[in-house]
């Protein structure tokens, strides 16, 4: 069964209710051939657990890092990842493209 973005929100709420720090990353906009559409989610727990996907690749690592920081300082963040076609493969944006991601803490 494919995990849809909605399962990510349910899990994020469950983590938050269990007392864990949680951040939610949401794809706001994409240009070019980013693999995940606007509205895609990645939920991050303070201990580094995560569920969902915002790019289908290595951008996740950076987003998780920013999520953990957002849990610590409570500040929302707007991240932009853009890569040239040549560099695309190495960071996991399959065919190049730009993705804008909003990261926010779940406030209990």
């Amino acid at each position: 069964m494919v995990l849809d973005p909605e399962d990510v929100l349910t899990r994020a709420a469950a983590w938050a209710k269990a007392g864990d720090g949680v951040a939610l990353a949401t794809v706001i906009a994409t240009w070019g051939s980013s693999p995940r559409p606007a509205g895609s989610h990645l939920a991050i727990a303070a201990d580094g657990r995560f569920i969902g996907s915002v790019s289908g690749g290595c951008v996740e690592g950076s987003v998780i890092e920013q999520g953990i920081e957002a849990i610590a300082d409570g500040e929302p963040r707007l991240l932009t990842f853009g890569v040239s076609d040549e560099a695309a493969w190495s960071v996991g944006l399959a065919c190049g493209g730009t993705v804008k991601i909003y990261v926010e803490r779940i406030e209990v």
């Binding site: 709420a13 509205g39 803490r105 779940i106």
Partner: protein, 231 residues
């Protein structure tokens, strides 16, 4: 996002109500826009309200204006199968992977058993009664699979009276011609006939149960995404 707002969003979704989450990217403030009510940190203008309604209708998420990100949450589309038959067992897992909430209707209790359809919503009411209770809407697809006029005909009658975006009927061309004849006698028009896809499925030369399931779901997808039943 406040956990309380997230929980309200999840509750709306669980109840099958469309809802939009609007985030002000500059301030982090958020509101939930329901069909009739807005709750949260800020209200929305009439202009925004229209843009949000359009995004919900197309199941899309996007920036509205400079800093308001609108995220659409719409209920799962539904697939109602009439006939708890073998082909239904092939259709169900594919439909679920595509995001459909599946209901199976079959008054024959030997067919519609939880053993044969574990975890699937089953109705053993007569198809017209069952469909009326399910209230098919413009996000509902209905497919009859029984080959039995006693079951398929009342199902198709109920389906044609609904807003279902897709109606399909399994059966050969000959079977389908006879079916349309009976529907004409029951008072349905040519326009009604056009709404029924029969023989069901996209013409991909399907042979096996799984291939037939694929052709049915491909046609439902084409109807949902392109508004047409053939390519």
């Amino acid at each position: 996002m406040r956990l309380s707002l997230l929980e309200k969003l999840l509750a709306a979704r669980a109840e099958g109500r469309p809802v939009a989450l609007v985030t002000d990217l500059a301030t982090g403030l958020q509101s939930l826009v329901h069909e009739k009510v807005v709750e949260g940190d800020f209200g929305v203008t009439a202009e925004e309200s229209e843009a949000i309604a359009n995004l919900l209708a197309t199941e899309a998420s996007a920036l509205v204006g400079d800093s308001h990100f609108v995220q659409s949450f719409t209920p799962s589309p539904r697939l109602v199968l009439v006939g708890a038959v073998h082909i239904a067992q092939a259709v169900i897992p594919m439909a679920q992977a595509l995001g459909y909430a599946v209901t199976v209707i079959d008054p024959r209790q030997a067919f519609a058993t939880p053993e044969r359809f574990p975890g699937i919503a089953l109705s053993t009411d007569w198809p017209d009664t069952a469909l009326e209770a399910l209230q098919p809407d413009s996000r509902t697809a209905i497919v009859t699979l029984t080959h039995d006029p006693k079951l398929d005909d009342p199902a198709l009658s109920a389906a044609l009276k609904s807003d279902a975006f897709y109606i399909g009927a399994l059966g050969s061309r000959k079977t389908h011609a006879r079916r349309l004849q009976r529907l004409t006698e029951a008072g349905f028009t040519e326009a009604d006939h056009q709404r029924i896809q029969g023989p069901v499925g996209l013409a991909i030369g399907a042979k096996t149960q799984a291939e037939i399931a694929l052709s049915i779901l491909a046609q439902i997808t084409a109807m949902r995404r392109l508004g047409k039943a053939s390519l």
